[in-house]
Structure formats: C-alpha cells, structure tokens
Amino acid sequence: MSMLAQIAYDATSKAEAQAITASGYAGLAYGLATLGPGIGIGYLVGQSVQAMARQPEAAGMVRTTMFLGIAFTEALALIGFVVFILLKFV
C-alpha cells in the first residue's frame, strides 16, 4: 500500500506537488489573516461601547459609525478568507 502511495506521489507533477503544499499553507494564511482584523474589531467595538456608555444620547450615531468601521476592518479578514479558498481549492 505504501509503495502504491509512493508511486502515486511520484506520478503527480511538480505543479501538483506545489498545489498540495499551497493547500497545506492555506490554513496558515487564513489564520494569520484573522489576527489583525480580530484585534482591530475588538478594539473598535470596545471603544464604541465606551463611547455609548459615556454618551447614551449619541448611541445611534456611534452604532452606525461602528458598523462602517467593522465593515472596513473585516474586509481584510475576508480577503484572507478568499485567498484561503483560492489556495485550497483552485
């Protein structure tokens, strides 16, 4: 069986071996891509909650701006996710 696997591995082309390696690193790429946005969104929401607690009458405006900020910050993580899909499945 292991001999079969060895033969199968040898039969794959160089490009295919590269694809397998890329697929292995895809998870790592996505994990790294979550770090920054995770910290960013946490900080953003924390500060927004603080702002709402200090000035409850401005809560509506703060919430809208918070969602905008989350959308912009989150885009990085989502691009990481797209790169992950590209590496893993393409």
Binding site: T64, F67, L68, A71, A75, L78, F81, V82
Partner: protein, 255 residues
C-alpha cells in the same frame, strides 16, 4: 478523511446545475437565479400587499415593510447622506431587500444556499453601485468629480503625486471590489460553516462512542443557524449603508 468524516468538495457546495438551458450558456437558469427570482417576487408581493392596505395606522405586512423602509430612510440615509439623499431611497431599499432575501435563503429549508455565496450576485450589485455613485458624482459635480475624488481639496501640491494614485485605487477599484468580496466572502464562509457542522452531525449520527458528541455538535449547528440569520441581516445593512456612504460622498467634493 478524519474519523470517517468526508467533507464534500467545494464545487458541490456552491455550484448548481441549470434547471433549464444548456450547461455553459449565458442564460442557464440555476438555483442561484431561482433564488434571485424569488427575492424579486417576494419583495414585490410584500410591497404590493403593504401598499394596498389603507389607513394611517400600519399593521401586519404594512408594518413590516414600513419599518424596513423607515430603517433605511432614518437609519441609513439620514445618518450618512442627509435629507438630500432621500431621492436614492428606491435604489437603497431595493438593494437592502434583494440582498436580505437572497442571504436569508441560507437557512430556508430545501434551499440552504445563500444566493450571494456565488460571486455573481455581489459582483453585479457592486458594479451597479459603482456605476451609480459615479453617475451621481457626474450629475452633481460634472467632470470635476473625477478630479475632486482623486485629489481632495486641501492636500498640499507636493503630495499630489502620492495621493492621486492612492485615491484613484481606493475610490474606483477597491470600493467595488471590497463591496462585492465582503458580501460574497461572508455568505460563503457562513455557508461552509453550516455545511461543516451539518456534515459533522451526519457523521456523528452513528452507533459508536462518537455519538456522545452529537448533542454538542447539533446545538452548535442550531446556534450557528441563528448567527447566520443575523449575519444575513447585517451584511444587507452593511452593503446598503456603504452604498449610501459612497453615493453621499460623490454628491459633494470632500472637505
């Protein structure tokens, strides 16, 4: 294959055969197109039923539709554009309801597929929004719009060679791209998450000791379903509010 867990390839999750029309044609009508059609019909029916009820006191369907419209008018347009943005209400209401309904199909039985987990829908909407905010800019500022948007007033002349490419990239390329990718990737990620837990539940549904983990896995699946409903709503909101912000920013030169 881990413990007999067999995850389906991704094209089985997101690609659908045509219901009619040849396989590779430009008009092949598949499940995604059906979801878009349902979004059109459901929104139209909702608004028609709501529009037919009379009286100043809203109730039932009318209440639902009116709270949606009021949410977009007061929560999105008034907060980002101001009173002069009311004329963009039809576009933003259509965006919101179209995206919301195509997203919500992620948790509707027998569909279980968000229409926006394919790049096509978000790409079309983002392109339309791109054309729309450029058109609004041209209408309000004329051809100066392009210059105003790449070179914000008040920037020192020495910095212009640095600022112009950055602004050009961020306004005309990154905006539609991130708009589309944000919606698409959120829905695809949610879809994959739900599929993962569903496959896990199916695999754990066996006569082995692993069945002990099944309740937790199933509870997680139920919780994630609720979470995805929230994400569907949130992504519709974010797409609409970003479209409103982009349209509003092209109405006047930045200060």
């Amino acid at each position: 294959m881990i413990f007999g867990l067999e995850f389906p390839p991704i094209e089985n999750l997101v690609e659908w055969p045509n219901l009619f029309g040849p396989a590779e044609s430009w008009y092949g009508f598949n499940k995604i197109a059906l979801i878009n059609l349902v979004a059109l019909v459901a929104t139209s029916l909702l608004f028609l039923v709501a529009g037919r009820s009379k009286g100043l006191v809203p109730k039932g369907t009318r209440n639902l539709v009116e709270s949606g419209v009021a949410f977009i008018r007061d929560g999105i347009i008034m907060e980002t554009v101001g009173p002069e943005g009311i004329r963009y209400l039809p576009y933003l209401v259509s965006l919101f309801f179209f995206i919301l309904i195509t997203n919500i199909f992620e948790v509707i039985p027998f569909f279980h597929m968000p229409g926006n987990a394919r790049m096509a829908g978000p790409a079309v909407l983002a392109l339309l929004t791109w054309v729309y905010f450029i058109a609004v800019g041209l209408k309000h500022q004329g051809l100066k719009y392009f210059w105003n948007s790449v070179a914000p007033p008040g920037v020192p002349k020495a910095l212009l060679p640095l600022v112009i490419p950055i602004e050009l990239l961020s306004t005309f390329i990154v905006r539609p791209f991130s708009l589309a990718v944000r919606l698409f990737a959120n829905m695809l990620a949610g879809h994959i998450l739900l599929v993962t837990f569903t496959v896990l539940c199916i695999t754990l549904f066996s006569a082995t000791l692993l069945a002990l983990v099944l309740p937790f896995s199933f509870a997680m699946l139920v919780g994630l379903t609720g979470f995805e409903i929230m994400v569907a709503f949130l992504q519709a909101y974010i797409f609409t509010i970003l479209a409103a912000v982009y349209i509003g920013s092209s109405m006047h030169a930045e200060h």
